[in-house]
Point group: C2
Chain length 212, copies 2
DNA sequence: CAATCATTTTAATCCAGATTAAAATCGGGG
DNA sequence: CCCCGATTTTAATCTGGATTAAAATGATTG
């Protein structure tokens, strides 16, 4: 019978499983990956997965929960450690991209929320929206403190997130390339945001009071 | 029995079918969409589709062929009408985005080339690569004529294409919004490329001779 | 109106992949 | 060495979705 949470062996295996699943889902989508695909990456039989999870849907759900947690963490760190809008955005992007291609195992891209069962769908949708809002407020902050040029925030957020979410479609895990992506993407994506060509070496305007 | 090409009724229906299919595939992926989904958008039964196409695989294949043709056309026009690197890139982006969200019906995003059968896969892969190369050479041209800042061309291309390819994941056909996207995306995406904040009102350096 | 080809539906068939139950294996204490 | 829970496999079942063949419906022409 499945254990609760802290059991070493169980928890570790479940974690491996979620990473394997995230990898598959990112590569071939929800319907496109069979449980056999995921199990194969673990050297197991498809049926074995049911020891850890109720069904396939719960598998994606858990992948998304994990991704949301890591994403929230990245956002918090970026907000805490960043000094001004654009800086926070860059830090966030770097951590986020690293989460997706880095060693800690792939994070699932939340691209199939509609396939979740209603309760899960609502929950993940809320997390996802909250995250978008947080990112957009970083952009807003950057515009207010003049580190980011005025722009259509919603569209800009969509563009940046799209560029990142698409990475798993063309990148298939090789470490040196991953490092390169983690270095380049934040630069490329923030280049379009910056007011100046070169990143300001000193923080721009102090925020104008109003801060979300 | 299926007609060859020019037959009016047949060709028109087949075209409607490809658009319906592209819409579904963009939204839910290859395995995620059933023939019933596509047929439903046409007011038909799933079995009816077999009158126009050998099987589901051929359906994606044809969607991709169509997308490649439109993309190539856009690229040619951009190269022909654009005056300098960044300008060509912008024109291309605008036409490409318009192809994806615009009226001419949705273009399929080539995100599932691996699901094609080998012969088709190779063919589409070649078209896709040729297209990437063409886009990258626009970037190169822009760098050479100093309208685009030096950057990692491959990564930049991936970022831009990703942002665009992701659009169908969050946009679900409503015309005014589509127009807004077509206006905004090229601006947002090219902002990161431009050497200056404002698009040069006059063409920059004359290309340095070497041109691909 | 009849004849004929075009188009679509109805009614199977088939298979992959999800899910489940029961049996087999594994690993460590007693 | 034996026992027990933890983990995984084997073997079946079930279902949705692709595919097909035959029948029904439409439309066009002579």
């Amino acid at each position: 019978m499945a254990r609760l949470a802290e059991d070493s062996r169980f928890a570790l295996q479940k974690d491996r499983m979620l990473r394997a699943a995230a990898h598959c889902f990112n590569q071939k989508g929800y319907s496109g990956t069979s449980l056999k695909d995921v199990a194969a990456r673990l050297g197991l039989t498809d049926a074995a997965l049911y020891y850890y999870v109720r069904n396939k849907e719960e598998l994606v759900y858990l992948c998304y929960v994990r991704a949301a947690a890591v994403g929230r963490e990245a956002m918090q760190v970026a907000v805490r450690d960043g000094s001004y809008g654009l800086d926070k955005v860059r830090r966030y992007l770097e951590m986020h991209v690293d989460g997706i291609v880095g060693e800690q195992g792939p994070l699932a891209i939340m691209s199939e929320i509609p396939s979740l069962e209603p309760a899960h769908r609502d929950e993940i949708l809320a997390l996802s929206r909250a995250h978008s809002v947080a990112f957009e407020s970083l952009l807003t902050e950057g515009i207010e403190d003049a580190s980011i040029r005025p722009c259509d925030i919603r569209m800009t957020g969509n563009a940046i997130m799209g560029a990142i979410n698409w990475i798993p479609k063309w990148f298939h895990g090789d470490t040196p390339m991953a490092r390169h992506i983690v270095r380049q993407f934040p630069l490329i994506l923030s280049a379009g945001l910056a007011v100046r060509d070169d990143p300001p070496s000193v923080p721009p305007n102090t925020p104008a009071g109003a801060r979300r």
